[in-house]
């Protein structure tokens, strides 16, 4: 195969931070290559160097089709057929599918004819076998459809290398399959595809080679066939992870929360479950299976139509999340970016927000000392790596942000902690840290409901797992008694 892109001895320093140290990388025409590594390992910097956004430090060389590129600019990189699909997709939601795909055609200053716009878009879709309504607005599309638009746009621009940054982060399993299929289509047209991904299993299904970065250095390029997700995780973090299922709970403990025949029209139907002190109850199922809606009801945010919720054996009606908090229920939401944390506010303020009325001193003002003690306690307890409690949450990595979210809820002293997809967008290494914390909390007697669509996550970190499907509970599994594959099948069924 012909070599499309070669990077030699690429280093990049930003101020005092060495983002990349002497990295070599080559991409063959039409190969599927995975770039793996934890947050801050230098993946993004490397992509930006390839896209011409950042120049490499002196001493590094970039060759495209064997020609050395001195001073690669974004325009030149695009002209040579390098297309980056960023995680946010960079689409224009207020414009139609056709306009988005043919955005290049709208460059310059001249009269616009709609014919070519439609034609470009249609042929781009045909080339990779996608069909979407050209006149729909992108704001009306699902995330997966938007991704197709972004890929079509890349393909309309005669791409020879498409780099996808975290393409699977917000897709369901079926959508991921469709994306992988599309990748093969690009490959058939000898377009090289580079995946940058956290979700290792999916990437291994399709990649031919995997390059792993750690702390700005290349750990190596490996044949994907010889790679397992565990080995990849170890390479990325430099640590080894043991996966073993949880031992069954010992002595019977009293239930913290039980639910009988809970229904909410259109969301979930006839749900009965119970979670005990010290137990981690996993709930899995596809997006739209009703798992998040159920969690919101347990947290008092969506009123169920029928059924009973019992806290410590007594029936309760939760009118609001405030009442749920008073009953000792905490909920760490799926979407920490928009619901859970106030990103631009200091870490300390985020941790203290749920318990602010317990920190009131004289005159009803917040007692600074009490707040500081509380914040320091949880930062230590959860091992949150921060500069100062006064830094904005947005300065933290995904894993540490999630710990701040946890701290905020643990500060309320809950008896039941509901975690909804707690490791979305979190690195392998940081994920493991969160699992350890959750297990420790459970050992200390906290009841935990762990909701996730990542099967291994619930399988290895729960005492029991419930499978939800179309709003109903369709199965119950005990990981110490069954195989991961059995659970996987139950979800896929």
């Amino acid at each position: 195969m012909a070599r499309f892109l070669e990077l030699r001895n690429i280093s990049k320093r930003f101020g005092g931070v060495q983002a990349l140290k002497s990295v070599d990388l080559d991409i063959e025409a039409g190969e599927v290559h995975c770039l793996a590594g934890e947050n801050g390992c230098g993946k993004s910097t490397l992509i930006k160097i390839i896209a011409g956004v950042h120049p490499p430090d002196p001493g590094g060389t970039i060759l495209i089709d064997g020609e050395e590129q001195s001073g690669l600019t974004p325009a030149e990189s695009l002209r040579r057929g390098i297309q980056v699909i960023y995680q946010d997709l960079s689409l224009f939601p207020n414009m139609t599918v056709a306009e988005n795909i043919a955005i290049e055609h709208q460059r310059g200053v001249r009269l616009l004819r709609w014919g070519p716009v439609q034609r470009i878009a249609r042929s781009a879709m045909q080339q990779i076998g996608v069909s979407l309504d050209l006149d729909r607005h992108v704001s009306d599309l699902s995330i997966a459809e938007r991704q197709l638009v972004a890929i079509c746009r890349a393909s309309a621009n005669e791409a020879r290398l498409v780099i996808m940054d975290e393409p699977t982060a917000s897709l369901t399993r079926r959508e991921v399959d469709a994306l992988l299929h599309l990748t093969l289509e690009l490959k058939r047209r000898s377009v090289a595809v580079v995946f940058v991904s956290h979700r290792l299993d999916e990437v291994l299904e399709i990649a031919e080679r995997v390059t792993v970065l750690q702390n700005g250095e290349k750990r190596g390029t490996f044949d994907a066939r010889d790679m397992t997700s565990r080995r990849l995780g170890e390479l990325m973090t430099g640590r080894s992870f043991e996966h073993h299922v949880m031992d069954p709970l010992g002595a019977p403990t009293p239930p913290v929360l039980s639910v009988r025949g809970l229904s909410r029209s259109g969301d979930y139907e006839d749900i009965s479950l119970s979670v005990r002190e010290g137990e981690i109850l996993g709930i899995t199922g596809r997006l739209g299976s009703g798992r998040t809606e159920l969690a919101l009801s347990l947290f008092g945010m969506h009123r169920p139509d029928r059924g009973e919720i019992l806290v410590a054996g007594r029936p309760v009606t939760l009118h609001s999340n405030r009442e749920a908090i008073e009953h000792g229920i905490a909920y760490l939401s799926e979407d920490r970016l928009s619901l859970g944390l106030v990103m631009e506010q200091p870490i300390a303020a985020n941790v203290a927000v749920t318990v602010i009325d317990r920190l009131l001193g004289r005159l009803g003002l917040v007692a600074a000392d009490a707040r500081q003690d509380l914040v320091r306690h949880w930062i230590g307890e959860l091992g949150i790596k921060i500069g100062s409690p006064d830094d904005a949450v947005s300065t933290l990595s995904g894993g540490n942000q999630q710990r701040v979210g946890l701290a905020k809820w643990l500060a309320t002293g809950p008896k039941l902690l509901i975690l909804d997809s707690p490791t979305v967008g979190v690195d392998v290494g940081a994920k493991d840290g969160i699992y350890r914390i959750v297990r420790r909390l459970a050992e200390a007697g906290l009841a935990v409901i762990l909701i996730s669509d990542e099967i291994p996550e619930v399988f290895y970190n729960s005492h029991r797992v419930l499978v939800m499907r179309e709003g109903r509970i369709t199965g119950e599994f005990e990981p110490h008694r069954c195989e991961e594959a059995v659970l996987q099948e139950a979800v896929d069924a």
Binding site: A75, D88, L89, L91, F92, M95, E104, V109, L111, T172
Partner: protein, 335 residues
């Protein structure tokens, strides 16, 4: 085509049009003087000034910005141009050149400040409104210009017909200016690559930057065009008013903004249409005019206008929420 029609029926413009038509029919029967060509021409003439400004403002809003300073820009343009023709014999070309040129320059200044300062455009242009207005008061000492050259007072007009009593229907420069502004805006937004780039910038500024569209250049087009229409509008306004009063125009910003927002433009940027803006303007004009013809106290008129505006905006917001929920449902169903 059928599906195109059905798609149109679901748009905000269609609903707005339906309300406008209903109001039109109602007023035609409820009042004696509403349904006449003469009243129509009068309405177009008196709404030419806010209408032309609305045609400029919708471009800025589509590009993701907001301009509040245009009434002060128009005041300066009109003051400079009319002062100049009072002293020198410049004719129409000089009048238009000075008014449009000064409007354009002030618009470009707005664009540069908005782009470079990276402050919300509403804040920048509110500040500039005060700067321009203060400057105008300083230059004019607050004095009006009450004598305009005869050729300007006569204006440009064409008789295009007459009613049964022989009263002529007159197509004047106000109506022409209004038509011209809307035509230009439509061409700019829908028939040029620049127009699509403006829409792209309003929809996702970060992505527009990545594609390589220059924010500064596009802002200069949008705010510059706003200044251009403000200059043009100021000429037709002074002609119909017969004088230039420095503090006459400032304060009418919100009427213009109301017409644009009523027309479905989103203050978040990227969304807004020429047809919607025109219908929004027509609806506001008809509410005003209708209430006057119905003999409603003029104190109530502002109240009712505010209420119409609120209803329309609430409907738009409700509709967008409903659509988003519908999309979410289909996504969930597909998954």
């Amino acid at each position: 085509m059928r599906s195109g029609l059905r798609a149109f029926a679901r748009t905000h413009e269609a609903r707005l049009l339906a309300v406008t038509v209903l109001l039109f029919v109602f007023l035609s029967f409820a009042t004696r003087n509403f349904f006449s060509i003469q009243n129509g021409l009068d309405l177009l003439t008196s709404y030419a000034f806010p209408g032309m400004l609305a045609a400029g403002l919708v471009v800025v809003i589509v590009a993701g910005g907001l301009d509040i300073s245009f009434t002060a820009v128009a005041s300066i343009a009109q003051f400079l141009a009319v002062s100049a023709i009072g002293r020198y014999d410049l004719g129409w070309a000089g009048l238009c050149g000075i008014a449009i040129g000064s409007g354009l320059l002030l618009g470009l200044l707005n664009a540069i400040l908005v782009t470079w300062l990276r402050i919300a455009s509403i804040i920048v242009t509110i500040a500039m409104l005060n700067v321009y207005y203060g400057l105008l008061m300083f230059l004019s000492h607050g004095n009006s210009i009450n004598t305009l050259p005869g050729w300007y007072i006569d204006g440009l007009s064409w008789v295009i017909g007459a009613d049964a009593h022989g009263n002529p229907y007159i197509l004047n420069m106000q109506i022409l200016g209004l038509g011209l502004s809307f035509l230009l805006t439509w061409l700019l937004l829908n028939r040029t690559t620049t127009g699509r780039q403006l829409r792209a910038l309003g929809g996702n500024p970060e992505a527009a930057k990545r594609v390589g569209f220059s924010t500064l250049r596009l802002n200069m087009v949008a705010y510059g065009y706003m200044g251009f229409t403000a200059g043009l509008a100021s000429i037709v306004e002074a002609q119909v008013a017969g004088s230039v009063v420095p503090n006459m125009l400032v304060g009418r910003e919100l009427d213009v903004l109301a017409a644009v927002v009523l027309g479905g433009a989103s203050l978040l940027g990227g969304i807004g249409s020429v047809s919607g803006t025109f219908i929004g303007l027509a609806l506001l004009a008809m509410v005003h005019n209708g209430l006057i013809l119905l003999g409603v106290s003029s104190f109530w008129i502002d109240c009712v206008t505010g209420f119409v505006f609120l209803t329309a905006v609430a409907t738009i917001a409700w509709e967008r929420r409903r659509q988003r929920a519908a999309i979410r449902r289909t996504i969930v169903a597909a998954a």
